[in-house]
Symmetry: C2
Subunit: 424 residues, 2 copies
């Protein structure tokens, strides 16, 4: 770990970034076997050093409780033997994933005999700014290492002691298998000036991924001069089309809201075609009410469900992450798509329909990171979509859009094999 | 064209961006046939309106000459019948290219029956900031349109009148085939405040591509809050390995420097293995001298070629874009790679060798956008590498690295086809 004393914020940031860049060059040419060994060694160390980790975590939890943080926050911060076992299991899953680095794609022979292909390479140094969740330290760190990237991990300050131990173990695991320890570093300060300097280290830091609150993401986007991949909120929709199977629609709309309301791919707004609303509402809304869902409805929906609260303009753009649902009634598919374009966040939007043309049109016109036909929005997730893992869900279109797995943590360079060709 | 009078820079920028975003949504769902019709119509209009275009261009050229600009600059600004024919030919080539939009890639069936694929979609609104080269207006505009993107074209101010006519014709062509004219707009002001506001229109502008001088690129990178793809300088290397075929090495090294010295994929530094330098220098350097190349050599090279000038530290990092070459002698492949990592710009680097292991190691360790074995650096070009066209060469790793063709102007969204699946 770098010594953070006696250095200006800018100097500290540059030192972290330089060390990461140098380590990333070695990591970029490490074999898959060596990277997997490091992850396996980390799994061993996590189990062996669990008591010390839990002790550090207990300090964090006590300090956070003292500071009066809320239950859900505290729960995410807390580690126990089961969660450590979960981290270890996560590492085993990452070890089992194919390594994207070095793959040669789209190799074609040019008319002049050149063989031109595109080789997957790590991005380099990735700065990840995230919540006070110690498990993310290991999950995100492992995905970066497996894809040959050196992470600079800036976790929430409440997890300071936990992350200190976790990063120490990651560095030890790297060193134990002959890889540079600096391939993982913690940004172990809450000095905002260090973050500001870090995300402006062009040529040393290749990407910053801010996770968490909108204010943090805005700060990083405004401040960074290195590329940013944003993981913004999810204002996700389910549109029940005129031609929907109403039983299926009810199951999907219920699942998308209720199965896990606190996550970004949960539905926040239900859009109903006017022709199905009279039949669907009596089937579905009592289930919502029984599950404790608060319904905020537009005027046309309230005409059919008078007990609903009145939705305001603000509701349409709100990610509740809670048992609250806004409901809108529309005349046709076009109005549904317009609503999604106007208020959605480009995250996940679903249609329920048995009309072929409507499904095709929805898929073509809705430009969210994940467009779903006849399934729950909750499937927009790296595991569910088959990426094997995810470091987050990008709502930026550039580079990666939607869940980011190992492949999305790489770039591609052109490789040209010739036999003496020159241009004339 | 938007009326640029009576509006604050921020208001003008937002108006341009809003109009572009609305048009981009329509363009995104336009068929390939319709987009090709617009490009074909533009080709017709360019020929029909050539006299008016050349008249506008003559005004630009006269003003630039009056302002005392240099020969090469003036040459790039100037249009004539042949160059208009070149634009038309370029349009025909873009028409012939496959449309990436709507392609479904990597579609796989998940265990729960979901069909998950990734559909190519346009990026949206792309702001392109470029030199005073009217042909770029048409080339870049056509590539954006074909890939379903709405360009905001900010050409150099010296091409003001030429670009005015060109953008007018592009807008007419769009309207003539029933596409929104606002899918192409010129940023017809040199007010830097407008540019500043434009590249901060998050949610409306999806990407800015600065082309041209380093100062411009730095300004855009520092200022933008929307994603930037940089097209930085090319400090390209050819490394002649110990095991090189010296005749091949001489041909490649000569071609890479001399065939077109003013472009970004021309070689700027030649790195020679100490074992081949004594044989290669007498074969190659007289050819350089005869071609008017100024040689700036390190001390060890000058020991073998005393008439060479002494290279300074600054030379190693300089993109001459001219008949100047820096030369360095190294002890081994490792030193060559270290030099490239220290001074290169991540653009294009080549090795000449017949040693299999050396070629593999160079390909693995050099992380430039294009790594070449036994061919000229001059092949790093969208046409030569088989992309069909290019809007520029990215030296940023994120999203696109190397030449950007039509596919690199798109993103991918996840599309999920289900039959009622919910998460449990």
């Amino acid at each position: 770990m770098n010594d953070v004393t006696d250095a200006s914020p800018a100097a500290l940031a540059e030192r972290l970034a330089r060390a990461a860049k140098a380590a990333s060059r070695k990591l970029a040419v490490a074999s898959t076997g060596q990277k997997n060994q490091a992850l396996a060694r980390l799994a061993e160390l996590l189990l062996a050093e669990a008591p010390r980790l839990l002790e550090a975590n207990a300090k964090d939890v006590a300090a956070a409780a003292e500071a009066g943080v809320t239950g859900a926050f505290l729960d995410r911060l807390r580690l126990d033997d089961k969660r450590v076992a979960g981290m270890v299991e996560g590492l085993r899953q990452v070890i089992a994933l194919p390594d994207p680095v070095g793959a040669m794609e789209d190799a074609r022979r040019r008319p002049n005999g050149l063989l031109v292909g595109r080789m997957r390479i790590p991005l380099g140094v990735i700065c990840i700014v995230y919540e006070s969740r110690p498990n993310v330290t290991v999950d995100a760190g492992a995905l970066c290492l497996k894809s040959g990237n050196a992470p600079l991990l800036k976790g929430g300050k409440e997890a300071f002691h936990s992350n200190g131990v976790l990063v120490e173990l990651m560095r030890q695991a790297l060193a134990d298998v002959g890889l540079p320890a600096d391939a993982v570093q913690a940004v172990a300060t809450s000095d905002r000036d260090v973050m500001t300097a870090l995300i402006r280290q062009q040529g040393l830091v290749d990407l910053v991924i801010p996770r968490g609150g909108e204010r943090l993401i805005r700060f990083v986007t405004e401040t960074a001069t290195v590329p940013v991949i944003q993981h913004f909120k999810g204002v996700c929709h389910v549109y029940v089309d005129r031609a929907a199977d109403l039983e299926m629609a009810a199951e999907i709309a219920f699942n998308a809201k209720v199965q896990r309301p606190g996550v970004c791919n949960a539905m926040e707004t239900l859009i109903l075609h006017r022709d199905v609303a009279p039949d669907l509402i009596p089937r579905l809304f009592p289930r919502y009410v029984a599950a404790g869902v608060e319904l905020r409805c537009d005027a046309r929906t309230r005409a059919l469900w008078p007990q609903g609260l009145a939705a305001t303009e603000e509701d349409w753009a709100t990610e509740y992450e809670d048992l609250i649902l806004s409901v809108r009634l529309v005349d046709d598919l076009e109005a549904a798509v317009e609503h999604i374009q106007a208020y959605g966040s480009g995250h996940t939007d679903a249609i329920v329909t048995n009309d072929y043309a409507a499904s095709q049109r929805f898929v073509a016109e809705v430009d969210s990171s994940c467009v779903v036909v006849n399934a729950s929005t909750r499937f927009n997730d790296g595991f569910e979509l088959g990426l094997g893992a995810e470091i987050g869900i990008s709502t930026s279109r550039l580079h990666a859009f939607g869940p980011m797995g190992l492949e999305e943590l790489t770039a591609r360079k052109f490789v040209v094999f010739g036999s003496g060709q020159v241009r004339s």
